[in-house]
Amino acid sequence: MLRRLLPAPAMLASIAAVVVLPLILPSVAMATEVVVFIIATLGCNLLLGYVGLLSFGQAISFGVGAYACGLALIHLHIGVWGGLFAALICSIIAGLVVGALSIQKRGIYFVMLTFAFSQMFYFIAYAMAEVTGGDNGLLNVPRPPLTVFGVTLLSLGTPLSMYCLAAIVFLVLFVFLHRLVASPFGSTLIAIRENEERAIAVGYNTRIFKIIAFVISSWVTGMAGALYALFLNFAPLSNIDVSMSERIIIMTIVGGTNSLFGSVLGATFYVVVGNLLASVWPRWLLVLGIILIVVAGYLRGGLWSGVEWTWQRLRARWPVAGAVEQREDRGGA
């Protein structure tokens, strides 16, 4: 009975992570960057881990979200809610267009199609320099306080305040995605990943499901982009560069595509290790390269599978009666 009342382990872990991060990391700013990329990685994980679609379009949503939020704040003066809403609308539209077209093909063609779109958006953003700032990026994105009916909820002036905004958005999105993957819609996505042909044969219009998943993924990543623009007060061109897509994909796979919480692990790992190592040794990417090779070869479940393995070992050693069951939120029973 108690089991029903407690939120799932993944939820508890997310809340714990969000509380702990600013405390154990060298700066609150780094914690904010971590949370931003956790959100972006969640968006990628939905597509890759649950639908089985490898898309290079992450940068499109991330960049569009950042530009939309930034531009709305700079030109429309509509406050943080407005900026987030602009990012929502624009990333959903971008996701719909790119998704509806890309989903027409499968396998490597789908991957290459998203790659082509990613490059297209990059060069368009580069060319529209009057709007996006081109190579220089969108500068001076303001960060007004977060208010509701004139009451200031978060001043957003301090790093901690900005972190709180990111953390709240993360938790809301995590709850949303956590419920989604356990829902009928989520189970259908998993069915499509497992065997799309069979999913069609039993009656699912898999195209529609894939497009919707693509749009949701785009929206989530777009929110991350918006937060990033607020955080940096700046939306660089690199947000929409295909290397950003690669980065997010790496975080997703390294964290583990078997569970949503894997995204928390992957993004935290990449941002923290990257920042810490980079300050010590500028060639930290060499280490990352080796890590990628090792993960692809030997630890395909990513960091999450490492955590799972440790958890199973611990439970075998010290079984706790009535413990909250380890819930697999990926397929299966």
Binding site: S183, F185, T188, E194, V202, G203, N205, A333
Partner: protein, 253 residues
């Protein structure tokens, strides 16, 4: 028993050309409701092509497929399941990593229309799908394996699940593609029994290579050869037909 039995499925003048090659030439037959109608013929007869036209995997070059009075010739595959056509695959095509129960539940869920798009409630709360899956699980006798991953089942049970996925769709017509493929003798017997009992509630179109099964349980047999209907009739008639013998032996000689 009421009036004349109705036609569940009718194929009219179905033709399929691949470039210059005609895989199907004006194939026509009608399947009576609640009957077991088998399609047999030597390799290359066009059975698979015909089956693919019935399931929507292929579009015919000419002709019609009529299901329950409705022209479904150009209906996309996923819609066919929704209007009552369940199919199984010749080569086992399951959700390997999903459990037996979840596989059946998914098939049942597909029929719930917009409810399948629900992204908020836990999937277990979609009662209709869960209930239908339980019924099929029971009927197949796969209860003890409900939490086993499909990929871990024995071949015979996988073939059962194949049929189960077609059943879970809640169809009126079952299209079974070589359900006994690769099965051992005992399993074949069980499958034969299952199909025979299913005919009480469903209309069944069967492609089969196992002659004993076909001759034992079929109400009607359509024999195909080189893309055309060669002979159509009841088991004993077909068994004794010289043209059928020639077609089979001729293609092996």
């Amino acid at each position: 028993m009421s009036a004349e039995p109705r036609t569940a499925l009718a194929v009219e003048g179905l033709t399929k050309r691949f470039g210059g090659f005609a895989a199907l030439k004006h194939v026509s037959f009608a399947v009576r409701e609640h009957s077991i109608h088998s399609l047999i013929g030597p390799n290359g007869a066009g059975k698979t092509t015909l089956f693919n036209c019935l399931t929507g995997a292929l579009k015919p070059s000419a002709g019609r497929v009529v299901f329950a009075g409705r022209d479904i010739t150009h209906l996309p595959p996923h819609r066919r399941a929704r209007i009552g056509m369940g199919r199984s695959f010749q080569v086992t095509n399951l959700f390997q990593n999903l459990t037996v129960f979840e596989s059946l539940r998914l098939a049942a869920q597909a029929q719930t229309g917009l409810a399948a798009l629900d992204f908020v409630r836990p999937k277990e709360l979609l009662r209709r799908a869960v209930a239908n899956a339980e019924v099929v699980l029971d009927r197949l006798g796969l209860g003890p394996y409900r939490d086993t991953k499909a990929g871990e089942l024995s071949h015979g049970r996988q073939r059962l699940l194949e049929v189960g996925l077609a059943l879970a769709v809640g169809p009126s017509l079952l299209l079974l593609d070589e359900p006994t493929a690769g099965m051992g003798v005992e399993d074949i017997g069980a499958m034969k029994e299952l199909i025979a009992t299913l005919a009480r509630d469903y209309t069944i179109v069967l492609i089969e290579h196992n002659m004993r099964v076909v001759l034992d349980i079929s109400d009607m047999i359509t024999v195909m050869h080189l893309g055309e209907v060669l002979v159509e009739g009841r088991s004993d008639a077909v068994r004794r037909d010289d043209r059928v013998k020639a077609a089979y032996l001729g293609s092996e000689g």
